[in-house]
């Protein structure tokens, strides 16, 4: 799929998020932003800077520290005609509001025989690497991808952040946009005008002929770095950024694997029970005969995110671990 030609303007990831939110607020009079410290403070990471000023306190407001209440507010408001943008500051805090997400938001439309429409956009910050330890660093996308009724997207560039937020907000389904705190300062081209990044379409970020790395979120950048290293080993890796986990663009994955015959899935979340397992399963279901090697998986070890920088460095997957895993997979 041809992306709109980006203009040369560069924006930081954090500013691209803000621009996505702004765009949504401009185009949708029924949209509002609610969350902890999103208004006066502009968000603890600053990605709502200027939103309060532009749209006023009726549409942009600080909530109590009540995640279940905040998401519930979004569910009830969406079911009755609003288009809420709900901020769940850290993805770890989904624990606090998981009932509203899993049992209400995800299921209401189905339970009501398709009569409810829940255009809720949830923005939430994931990712390790800042020594924020076990309760502020997790990547919990597997939790929410397991819930029929939700859409889940992950943005790894400023361009995708803005485009995915706009798509999410225009979607009539609940969409959770997972952002990454380690990418906030990352610069990248972002068109000034509104544009969308389609939900459900993977992005081939690097073409390759004999190896496929499927990734999403910040790990896409590690996958790209690994692909460069793998060149020296004669491996010409294609890197796919899924961008959307639910719905999943398995066609893009399968097409690539049928071409390259070898595949690896990389994500930051704990490997065991992670979303990579689903991708590996789909590959063996749809491209078994094309595989020259078992599908490899790279993810975090089976432990909570540690605090110590030394331990955290050994926890979060990176390009070296991807290369090492590929070598082992391929017997190099």
């Amino acid at each position: 799929m041809a992306e709109p030609q980006p203009k040369p303007r560069e924006l930081a990831y954090v500013a691209a998020i803000a621009e996505g939110v702004r765009t949504v607020m401009q185009e949708q009079p029924d949209a509002f932003v609610a969350g902890e410290d999103v208004a006066e403070a502009g968000g603890v990471y600053g990605y709502y800077n200027g939103i309060l000023k532009e749209f006023g306190p009726e549409r942009v407001f600080d909530t109590p520290i009540s995640e279940e209440g905040i998401v519930g507010l979004g569910v009830g408001a969406a079911a009755t005609g609003c288009r809420p943008i709900i901020d769940v500051m850290f993805m770890d805090f989904m624990g606090e509001c998981m009932d509203e997400i899993a049992n209400q938001l995800a299921k209401m439309r189905y339970m009501f025989g398709g009569r409810a429409t829940l255009p809720v956009t949830i923005l939430s910050m994931a990712g390790a690497g800042a020594s924020l330890a076990a309760q502020h660093s997790q990547s919990l996308e597997a939790w929410i991808c397991h819930l029929p009724g939700l859409k889940v997207v992950m943005a790894c560039t400023p361009y995708d952040a803005k485009g995915l937020i706009i798509s999410a907000a225009r979607d009539d389904n609940p969409v959770i946009v997972v952002l990454n705190k380690m990418s906030l300062a990352m610069m990248g081209p972002v068109p000034e005008e509104p544009y969308t990044v389609p939900i459900g379409e993977a992005n081939v970020v690097r073409g390759g002929s004999n190896y496929t790395i499927i990734s999403f979120g910040r790990m896409v950048h590690e996958a790209l770095a690994a692909a460069t290293q793998l060149e020296e080993l004669g491996i010409d890796a294609e890197v796919i950024d899924l961008r959307s986990l639910q719905p999943l663009d398995s066609a893009a994955v399968v097409a690539s694997v049928r071409k390259t015959h070898r595949a690896m899935v990389v994500h930051e979340a704990v490997r065991f029970g992670g979303f990579g397992g689903e991708i590996a399963a789909q590959i063996q279901e749809q491209a078994f005969d094309y595989l020259d090697a078992p599908v490899a998986r790279v993810g975090a070890p089976f432990s909570p995110v540690p605090f110590s920088p030394v331990l955290e460095a050994n926890y979060v997957p990176n390009a070296d671990r991807i290369v090492a895993e590929a070598k082992q997979q391929l017997g190099l």
Binding site: E40, S66, Q135, H136
Partner: protein, 323 residues
């Protein structure tokens, strides 16, 4: 009813407050200098609360803490060596470098952890209180939590259950007027969190959280009541944090005025307490200075210990997940 406070207790409270202040001032500076990784939420300004409560407790009594947890651990007897080692992420830290500031804990001291989840503590404290009762001990469990945390469903569930089961639990709300950058008026329609207590079926009390004696007296009553099987109490301490939500200068947002900070500093729990102790002839300025000096030395020794300590073995990342 507890009897009149002794000089020993006065000095004990003073020492705990000074230790917290000294530790936090240094830790905050080190974080901003980039020497300590991650995020520190400093307890400076709130020392009277942790100290006034903790002198009533033994190591067999439990507390749960918050993201702003150093003060609670120090007042509960935490050692600077292991604390600094934890803040540095060293193998010798209280949590072997796995928890850091936000999860600092020492179960041997009955300190069930700082907590990265706002509102995470109260249900755990309630559970520990249940355990105290279940095991037929006379121990109590104290939950420290903020004004912001009082809006989490978890707090309400814990309060209800503690009252229902008449558990030896004291909910100590450290109302410092803000949840992160949001003033209390923007996060709840009430000003006194203690007003909610009758709704759960427990007494609610408001005390000046900048006055260690006021905290000590009220906490003493609440703890005695809990030990005697009288059930839980909601004790609200009006207090203030001098520094930003995270670190010292923090994000540099202008969500409160310098004047407000100065007003609260006039009520400084340590400065005013030292003046009163001097008046009473309990603590001379020289003796007070010696307490500060000892705390500074402990901080130096703690930092030295932390810096000399080894990093965790990278392979330790997957250890301690299961028993």
């Amino acid at each position: 009813m507890s009897s009149e406070i002794t000089d020993d207790i006065l000095l004990d409270i003073h020492r705990r407050m000074v230790r917290i202040r000294t530790f936090e001032e240094r830790a905050g500076k080190m974080m901003e200098d980039g020497k300590i990784p991650g995020a520190l939420h400093l307890y400076v300004g709130q020392e009277a609360v942790a100290s006034g409560v903790m002198v009533h407790l033994s190591d067999q009594d439990y507390i749960t803490s918050t993201h702003r947890g150093h003060g609670h651990l120090i007042a509960k007897g935490g050692e600077f060596t292991y604390m600094f080692a934890e803040l540095y992420g060293k193998a010798t830290g209280y949590c072997k470098g796995k928890g850091g500031s936000m999860h600092i804990s020492n179960l041997d001291l009955g300190m069930l952890g700082a907590n990265g989840i706002v509102g995470g503590g109260p249900p755990i404290a309630m559970g520990a209180a249940f355990s105290c009762k279940f095991r037929k001990t006379s121990n109590v469990s104290i939950s420290f939590f903020g004004d912001g945390a009082s809006n989490e469903g978890a707090f309400h569930e814990a309060a209800n259950m503690a009252a229902l089961y008449k558990l030896p639990c004291v909910f100590v709300c450290e109302n410092n007027g803000y949840g992160e950058y949001t003033p209390q008026a923007n996060h709840q329609a009430i000003v006194d969190v203690a007003d909610r207590a009758p709704g759960y079926g427990m007494p609610g009390v408001v005390v000046d959280g900048m006055d260690p004696i006021a905290v000590h007296e009220a906490a003493g009553e609440a703890i005695a009541r809990a030990r005697e099987g009288g059930g839980p109490t909601l004790l609200e301490c009006k207090t203030y944090r001098y520094y930003d939500h995270v670190g010292v200068r923090g994000m540099g947002l202008s969500y409160r005025t310098d004047e407000e900070v100065e007003q609260w500093r006039l009520k400084d729990p340590i400065v005013n307490f030292e003046a009163r102790l001097a008046e009473q002839g309990v603590l001379t300025p020289e003796a007070a200075e010696a307490v500060h000096e000892a705390a500074r030395k402990d901080v130096d020794a703690g930092i030295e210990f932390a810096e000399a300590s080894p990093n965790p073995d990278p392979a330790a990342v997957t250890e301690d997940v299961y028993a």
